[in-house]
Symmetry: D3
């Protein structure tokens, strides 16, 4: 799966190398949970907001909800994009991403244990260099976990440990110059033959479960063997991310 | 992958059974290509429209474009949904689906060979019983192929065979009561532990390539073995669909 | 009113000829009432949906409501039109038509006898060759009547016969090459000197009442005598349509 | 058609009486044509604006266009209505009315003689007491005629008399307490059994042609005899309105 | 502050001259309060509507609310502007103005004394020649005062005098050809070096308080001395406007 | 103007104290100019983007344009606000602020010297504790200056020093517990009797000119003396800000 020959990657990384990743929890003065997730030059600010006013369809159901919104600052990218608030609507891409993040988080949350409250995750991309959705989801779990810890500390939830069943992280992979590589940056992403996003839940015993697999042949169809290679890289990457998530939460608790 | 015990499926189908599928090409009086795709009680009407007025970003690039739109009649489903035109916007789900369809078709189209023209695929769900996006994409390829044949007959494209490199079809699969099953209907889809959509391109020699894999753990994470089982079912199903696509095109040519 | 000389009509029809009309009730698997109305190449799919959630302005008034929505598939016509859901709003034409249909149906409905419930009529044009609004309204009455019959069968309404006071049908007429003609197709409609839509309610004794008259001079003003000729044609046409409506309902009841 | 018994009308008017009508041309300081139309307590301010920038679909066609927009001040009525600009869209009613006005005016305009320019008619209801659309159209013709006169005076149109082929006016009628009456006010309009709007073009020799007939049974269907009675009233009323239009234009020319 | 040399102003006015101002209260047949405010060729129709249905955020707070909306007829100006209802949104300028008017009125209203009701002020510019926002606000106070008087007469408010603590008026000033001048018309406004809008509350003893100061350097920054000169002009102008407001209210009471 | 008695301010600051202010230029990897402006807990990220595609109304005019957009992350504040992109429109407050910023910057820019190009300033509030619009404008000038320096370095502008005529900065002031104070934080702002925003241009010789004055009586009208006191504070504050702007630019140039 990985190559010992000189790297094909523009960054010189080995195929199975993540970029420099940092997750910093507690960066927002006001939000109940927050995380600044940096994957190389991709920087995403995530906040988790406890909302007291439940959406109507959720009232009286004895369970809560976790939802996500995603946005990108207009000049997060090489060329300025149109501000979605000025355009008057969110793009299909934005909606696809925020649906993915919300779904991925809910996969590990016990909504009954959360109680009749909503946690809204805001993921705002400050700077983008590929992999914003996976960085967002990885940081979102940290912000969510911090918010749930706050619920426990405030006595609003009896057993915070029951609310989040497992960690969840996400990473992109792709076939670049016919080599499966981990954690694409923008230069790779824009020229990859295929790319994929994986959302993976961590198990108590180090095992992992697949929460979401999205793989797309951009330049050509891909084979089952290639899909397997990408999946193997993703498991490797998410293993590292689970450790960084725990470290970020621990640092913020001090 | 399949089970010899009594079927767990509400319909009584075996795990690897498709529903009754019919693809009928040429159903529209006006469109250059069209197909009524029926997967059991899921009925999708697809048209392929040749558009002479290229979007601005495409002009002068010596290549064409294929794009898709998706809609659902308000009472296609058990309970009436709000008409998107009245709501004033397309839902995130709608946008996600039409992006998937367009991407899946373009994966097998040679846009340079198509020339400076756009083909717009409209997929309108007349009746929905699960699997609308995969039925739409499978029918969309038929409508597109008919429209490209029209381009050849009219002398607008020199070599229509060069425009579409391969057939492409799509099918859903899922884990239902812990059994991997093919082609979910609504009752299965709404209660599946995991579901997946596969877009697969047919090869000249019977081989196939993966164009898109989207798998989601709805009730729980899923394992690699389960992903493999779903993929095996999808390949089986798409093999049947490729045959039905060719038959529909042949029938419409008579 | 009719002419014995060679027909001026592109279709060769006599001035007082309807196109081949078929009304098929019960075509939707889910809707409480439905009808596929075909007037020649104009095909409209109508569903009647029983809605349990009344609009706020109607609550507590001891009466119900009947409303209609109208849409056209983008490639129902010779050239593709923009999808209204993508455009983000319904055109003035669409709104005008759906207001006409709702008004025409309510003219024969006893809203108190319907009780505190709403029936929403969706009219979706699958294929258009002129006269879509009148075909839609004619089919809408069938779908509505089927839904009211369902209300009776379910014991939700004590006396379904009291809910719908009379049949209602609609037909277009026009002055084409200075001859008043019935049931314009698109080729006639686009070149007519004047056109008109009539909504007519059937009487128990074969008499009829006017529900709506909309006549427009497209190329020139028209005379009172011409208006009278169009009205006479419309009465003739609606007489036939009343018979077809009853037959469709009877066939669906078997 | 009219009654010699005590009037059924709340205002005490005879069935064939118009309200006090005044048409004042040239009320706007800036517009090329304008008219304040007052039908009793219904007051509509109309401007005709010469637009140098043609809509794209009209360019290079050697003809012009006349279009209309309609609006109502939020407190023109007994209770405040929502401002359409704040609501973010025009209602179906608004669009229906502005389409009617544009169509009615174009019926008497020679668009080739107008040349490659657009005249936009704005009809804004300052105060509403029924019949706003017919008052608007009647005043709109005056504003349009003044604007065309301006085109002649400025030498922009060679033969202004050729541009407008005939006067056009509009009036509402209705069946109120089973009596056909002319020019409904709001109190009548809200309780009429049927109402109708007629747009009528004046002939050079005093004859008139029908441009638009819109009649609706609000409380019950109406008969052919009733339609005829309403039409007779409308012709009478429009005869008066043609005189007032000419007088308004003459007064503004001084 | 004023100049004895020949006027620099296009209108020939002295620097401290208002245009001919008239305020006419009670011009609307339906509104609880109304005022037609004319500042030269700037004409604004203002209505004050008593709304029984409070916005949700205000319910149960034992106080009321005063809010304002602003609009301009499309041809109020030299060239036609796009109708905001057709454009589907209110411009930033419109929102800025209506926020200013609402804020200025609320500065002198005792919302607790008003009770749990909302008064909505609609300011519609019939004709514009500069200074529409200040004319609107000056007329809005008259309409508001008339509506509050109505509340007292109807016994809905115990002490109407307690509801409005002071009169409030507004006027524009500017630096035109380096001379501070009062009440800019459009020609001055479009070429002024700086312009300013002042909202001033009248005191019981003839003193005045500043409610809002908005001054902008359009062609160049301005000095403190210039700001002072503009403020002195505004106080002078508002003194006249307070008198006209009282006279308008008195005339409407007769 | 300032007080020697114990501070009334929640923060303990003296009335004429700014918060801790830092301006950091060059924080964005991609933008031609950028600045992170921090005024205490108010943090605004500003980018300046060089846009090659001019708005249509500006083409061929031999001058450029500077415009600004403003946004706030949903959880920048104590409670989460609705995301404007999801709401589908920018609030009146947002539009008012972005208009202020654009106007303030253009007051010191020579648009002819800038040439036919647009610079778009994006101001995104990461965290808000009062004074976001003035922090944004102060940082925006730094980002703009950096972008203009880039234009010079790239040889796109012959004389970058001619493009920006002067520095411009902004600061808020207010009357808090009857004391005029500088640079309100949120706690002061929400309870101030009056607040004001000043935009001030720096002179070559240390003199300053007023670009914009916006003062509002929130709890009561304010006096001329109070306005003067606020203005004096603002001049003091902007003097400091000019120094910080120059230092930020110098640091980024190294």
């Amino acid at each position: 799966m990985s190559s010992t020959t000189p790297s094909v990657r523009p960054s010189g990384r080995a195929p199975s190398d993540l970029r420099a990743v940092s997750l910093e929890a507690g960066v927002s003065r006001y939000a109940e949970g927050s995380c600044l997730a940096r994957f190389g030059n991709t920087h995403v600010l995530v906040t988790a907001s406890l909302e007291t006013d439940l959406p109507r369809w959720l009232k009286g159901q004895k369970r809560g909800w976790v939802t996500a919104e995603y946005g990108m600052l207009p000049r997060a990218t090489h060329t300025r994009g149109r501000r979605e608030a000025a355009a008057g609507k969110q793009s299909g891409r934005t909606q696809e991403i925020q649906r993915l993040i919300g779904r991925g988080l809910r996969a590990v949350v016990n909504l009954e244990a959360l109680g009749e409250r909503q946690i809204t995750i805001d993921c705002d991309v400050i700077q983008a260099d590929g992999g914003t959705r996976t960085a967002a989801l990885t940081g979102a779990w940290v912000a969510l976990a911090q918010a749930v810890r706050y619920l426990g500390e405030e006595g609003l939830v009896a057993d915070p440990a029951a609310v989040i069943r497992a960690p969840v992280a996400a990473i992109s992979c792709g076939i670049y110059q016919n080599v499966p590589v981990l954690d694409l940056d923008y230069e790779e992403d824009s020229r990859a033959e295929a790319d994929a996003n994986f959302v993976i839940a961590g198990g108590a015993d180090g095992t992992a479960g697949l929460v979401e697999v999205q793989a797309t042949g951009e330049q050509r169809p891909f084979s089952e063997a290639e899909l397997q290679a990408l999946l193997d890289l993703a498991k490797l990457g998410c293993g590292h991310l689970f450790d960084l998530q725990q470290a970020a939460l621990a640092a913020a608790a001090r």
